[in-house]
Subunit: 544 residues, 2 copies
């Protein structure tokens, strides 16, 4: 045997081992796994280093564009990952990480995810998913029931029907929103007479056939950016998304909405969809869905509700009334990876009418044959993992009353945080919590007094400085790594609808304590003092 | 304390435990995890029961549309999942499951996936992913390098540039293809003069502005169904996808392609994209990419290569020549969850020009701000998990030569299978393997002889019967559960381009042995004998 042949054989054997021999429990990877299994929070606390490293520094560890020519031992590579990746990742499960919609996960999720990966099912078709297909259909049925509360006969008739679909699983809310608007578009511009429908003939022919000047999607100015993205992708153009003003509670102004519908009708622009927001991304407010449904009915257009965040609130009997009217929506987006405590990658879109998907149905020769129950005939995505299992298990293990408790507590916590912000003389609450989100900013008491009596010009100047201060504090707090709030810019009624930079928090992590919240405010007060420019300028303005 | 308050407190405490206390090693879930860690293949073999249960029977276990009002203990629920779900799932990692593009996974993938889930990063933005953002950009760089082989300066300039993107991670090949065509569409119909571009103004205005009668996407008749889906979603309509004839090797006929381009130009229909297929889903053949690139250049249209399957072949120095010309593509789709042995959910689209994504760029107030390095500004999806880590680790641990070995062996195995099919008197090889896919069918020798001399009518009748027999064998084999091949219908040159039902196999699983392949043929011979209608009818035809 030549040397090169021997090397090849050795590589071959070690490759075979990679596919057949498990990682030993005392290997690096085995130990990492045990540490995670034993105490995930401890693992994350130990391994994620709150470093001030700038992103540009971190990038230096990830600059080589060549695929390695030499294999690495698993254990060596794991040390590398712990050092360069895990240490510099974000502690999304931390109780004081309240800036985004990620949270701690229930502990059964980890081993269950491992089971999901190990089974490696592909839900595009029955042949590669078998029982996962009816399971996913059941989960869609449960979520549909949560929103629409139809009777047993309804679900018996449609839940497992090949030609119907109560909804679609997808990687997240963006794909869910695109899917909903795709369905709405194809239904509106369906085949008629000689016209084969937009699905086959495209938008240009469709608008010519139906004689519309254009299409529009109406949503409040707090709508998620994925709606503009959807309009772009679907060929409608971002300008077809018309932002309707919101009231002082960040809810769509229904008078303005109705007026716009009338205006557009006069211009022969067809409203493709009215989109209600159930939990705006920035402030967590819910649109008046029932009133919106009336308007959608009057103008005969698709009514979609983007409840990516707020949909989970339906699990709380106490608070589900906040979303009253959602049951009149033609389609609803809910992200299970948000307040349903499932890991990233679990969005859902639901359809009131199980036959809605007819206009987006797809077939092929080797899968998705006519009459098959393959889920892929009605999804935007093709191959997909079995995430539905994680939602299924969570619904069974936590159960509705368990979810209710989590959701009620999150809202109570937000109310508590709003209270302490209101009581603190150096903070200003910008938006009250309706769900578990709120926005606020640091404004020294003396500046608050000045602001209250300032003329327009001075007010704008103070808000500009306050914005810079908010940005400074938020960045520094993130860099220091103990806690994290996010920031955004929103229109504020009391400042003549000026756009103001604010801290934004989401209080969904069940492990966040009141003490965490008090600590975050205290830290922000200290950080404000470190601002060498903005705070002195503000205080100088007070003196002047 | 009242009874209801006590119950509430107890539930509250048990909920808190779910988020804080790990599953005990001796719990049901703990034991399942250990069994998987210790021996995944054994776990799958033990727990997936090859049952003949019809899907309609399985559905009976998944019919309740109500979200449970009572929580279940994790251990009880795990028994339920093992019994009703896992037992009735599909053994996609089995060496004799050669019908689809799923395979056994390297053993380091399982604990690594657990790490990914535990970290629960959201790659839409740096704030929730930190080091995962440069990591994903590096993986995109490596994949870009694999295809385009640009120099070090190129990657240094663009890999981590905020306004550029070498590609996008996505949940799978379908989203990758949609993204590629979205980019192509928006680039073609970009802003010009008074026109704000399709992204803002939509397709209707865009076609009016540019004065095209329509758009077309040209791809061989073996193109993946996701291309029609893409055309539907993007507003072009499925009919805009024009299928070009293939030659006897399932490769696009470039003369026909050029002719069609000319015809369309004469009709003022702009070719939006020519799509080359690098590994057709059904037969694994690769289009003549270099020749296609010439045509795309001549007609100045976007050249996309759908290498969802075949892209991994570039890792083999021996076989990468099969894809020569791919480096001239404007965009390329590759699925890492196919022949790169990463679990479901890892697609990639790559762009030759890092500035391509400018026309699909999105921003919002609270994330994806101008100039930020948030990956979400250039992806179709929003929130996404850190799958890039699994690709990164695989590229380092397996390395390019390791992948080469896996790919070369898969092709050799397909060649071996083709050989034994050819040598077996009762089988007919329909398509030769170019990559590791092939198609064939069971045709008793006497029927083969008859077919060879049959007139058109008799040939059609025999093929119809053979189709039914193939379907019968394939279904029975799947139901028996020991092994699985898929089936499809393809046009066969030697039968006057009649569409014929065939077995389709994909030999990517490194654990599939030659013995597995011989066993599959032997089982199919036995199953054929059990056909009470079709085989006797075929043999009667021979006698007549």
């Amino acid at each position: 045997m030549t040397a090169s042949k021997r090397t090849a054989q050795a590589t071959n054997e070690s490759l075979h081992r990679i596919f057949t021999i498990a990682e030993a429990p005392d290997s690096t990877l085995g130990r990492i796994e045990q540490e995670m299994s034993h105490n995930l929070a401890g693992f994350l606390n130990n391994h994620i280093v709150a470093s001030k490293n700038a992103l540009t520094d971190i990038e230096q560890d990830f600059i080589c564009p060549r695929i390695p020519e030499q294999p690495e031992f698993v254990s060596d590579h794991m040390h590398h990952l712990l050092d360069k990746l895990v240490a510099q990742s974000v502690h999304t499960a931390s109780p004081s990480f309240i800036g985004h919609m990620t949270s701690a996960l229930p502990s059964f999720i980890l081993p269950l995810s491992k089971l999901m990966v190990g089974l490696n099912q592909n839900l595009v078709k029955v042949e590669t998913s078998k029982a996962f297909t009816p399971l996913e259909r059941q989960v869609l049925g449960m979520m549909h029931n949560l929103v629409y509360q139809e009777g047993g006969d309804f679900y018996q008739a449609w839940m497992h029907s090949a030609q119907h679909s109560l909804g679609a699983f997808c990687s997240g809310g963006t794909v869910a929103n695109i899917t909903a608007l795709w369905v709405a578009r194809n239904k509106l511009l369906k085949a008629q007479g000689n016209f084969n429908g937009i699905s086959r003939s495209g938008l240009f022919s469709a608008l010519q056939h139906y004689g519309y000047q254009g299409l529009a999607i109406l949503v409040s100015e707090r709508g998620h950016y994925s709606l503009k993205k959807s309009a772009d992708i679907l060929g409608l153009g971002q300008d077809s998304v018309i932002a309707i003003e919101t009231d002082e509670n960040n809810k769509i102004n229904c008078q303005q909405l109705a007026k716009k519908c009338q205006q557009l009708a006069a211009q022969n622009i067809k409203v493709l969809a009215i989109v209600g927001v159930a939990g705006t991304t920035e402030t967590g407010n819910v649109d008046p869905l029932d009133e919106m449904a009336d308007i959608a009915e009057k103008y005969q257009c698709h009514f979609h509700v983007d409840a990516a965040w707020g949909g989970a609130t339906l699990l709380s009997n106490k608070h589900r009334g906040l979303l009253a009217g959602i049951e009149r929506a033609d389609s609803v987006t809910i992200d299970a990876h948000k307040q349903m405590y499932v890991p990233m990658g679990a969005g859902v879109v639901l359809f009131k009418d199980p036959a809605s998907v007819a206009d987006i149905e797809h077939h092929a020769e080797y899968i998705l044959r006519q009459g098959s129950k393959d889920l892929g005939s009605h999804t935007l995505e093709g191959s997909r993992p079995g995430m539905a299992m994680l939602v299924y298990a969570s619904l069974h293990i936590i159960s509705r009353p368990g979810y209710e408790m989590l959701i009620n507590q999150a809202i109570e916590k937000a109310e508590y945080f709003a209270d302490i912000i209101n009581q603190h003389e150096d903070f200003e609450l910008i938006t009250e919590p309706e769900l578990c989100l709120l926005t606020y900013r640091y404004v020294p008491k003396s500046v608050q007094t000045l602001l209250a009596h300032a003329g327009d010009e001075q007010q704008a100047e103070l808000n500009m400085l306050l914005g810079k201060l908010t940005k400074f504090i938020q960045k520094r707090q993130r860099e220091d790594g103990r806690s994290f709030v996010s920031r955004t810019r929103i229109k504020v009624g009391r400042y003549n609808d000026e756009k103001v930079i604010v801290f934004r928090v989401v209080l969904a992590n069940p492990l966040t304590t009141k003490q965490n919240l008090r600590d975050i405010l205290a830290e922000q007060c200290l950080l404000a003092q470190e601002s060498e420019n903005f705070l002195p300028q503000l205080l100088a303005a007070v003196k002047a």
